[in-house]
């Protein structure tokens, strides 16, 4: 037992990281921290993909991880550009303050 890790431990770690990402996304007010919690969730999902790829001895899981990384990179670029634009207009990074369309 000392030299092998049960596969459910990896999946539990992925669940813990995903739950922490959801917590950060829901409870934090700073827009950059919210964005980083999204990246944390994506990383947790990547770990799940690679774990299942090990279980079935297939390489397809690795490819899904690769595509998730590419999409995360594109999303980070556009998302940070949006954050920069919002900051230029409102001078605040608190998402509670971006409420000028509220009645």
């Amino acid at each position: 037992m000392m030299s092998a890790v049960p596969i459910s431990w990896f999946l539990t770690l992925s669940a813990i990281l995903f739950a922490l990402g959801v917590a950060g996304f829901l409870f934090r007010r700073n827009i950059i921290t919210v964005f980083m919690s999204i990246e944390l969730m994506l990383n947790a999902v990547n770990l799940s993909f690679v774990t299942f790829s090990y279980q079935h001895k297939e390489v397809a899981g690795h490819l899904f991880t690769f595509f998730v990384m590419v999409v995360a990179a594109a999303e980070a670029a556009v998302g940070l550009a949006i954050i920069l634009t919002v900051f230029k207009g409102r001078s605040t990074l608190n998402i509670d303050d971006v409420n000028s369309m509220k009645n």
Binding site: S8, A15, I32, V71, A74, A77
Partner: protein, 164 residues
């Protein structure tokens, strides 16, 4: 030996993830997220995913997080000030229950008969990934290249200075 490695890097990953969510200054959160990605890269190596581990460090930790750190430095984002009521007090027990349910179902569906050993899966090298990427998954590969082009154009258009 594998168990010790897994435990060390899993604990590092969870501690850094908690740090990402709890810290007030965005740059501490960003550096903790780099720590999470680094420890996940080691866990990928344990699972035999060598190319994905290298790609994680080069692309995710070495480029995307550098972009985050840049934006934080450019915006000179300070530590978050306390404003409004935080939903953490009612939210934390709910989250722990959610987590416990997920962990319980994971352990039920995937009983401990598959064991992960270092070297148990050798099909994750660059050669296998390259073959699969250019034969079975050629269409998604080409579509992601167009996606990256769209993202580049979008980022440049959104972040440029307006010419008066």
């Amino acid at each position: 030996m594998d168990v010790i490695l897994f435990l060390i890097f899993a604990v590092v990953a969870v501690v850094c993830a908690i740090n990402v969510v709890v810290q007030t200054h965005p740059i501490s959160s960003a550096l903790s997220l780099v720590g999470v990605m680094g420890s996940l890269a080691v866990l990928y190596l344990l699972l035999g995913a060598e190319f994905i581990a290298a790609a994680q460090v080069i692309v995710y930790a070495g480029a995307i997080m550098v972009l985050f750190v840049f934006v934080i430095m450019l915006l000179n984002a300070g530590a978050e000030t306390k404003k409004g009521r935080s939903y953490l007090i009612p939210g934390a027990p709910l989250l722990i229950v959610f987590l416990g349910l997920m962990a319980f179902f994971v352990q039920r569906i995937f009983p401990d008969n598959t064991m992960v050993r270092f070297g148990g899966f050798t099909g994750g090298g660059p050669k296998e990934i390259g073959t699969a990427l250019f034969t079975t998954y050629l269409l998604p590969f080409e579509v992601t290249s167009i996606l990256i082009l769209v993202a580049i154009i979008g980022a440049i258009v959104l972040a440029r200075k307006e010419i008066e």
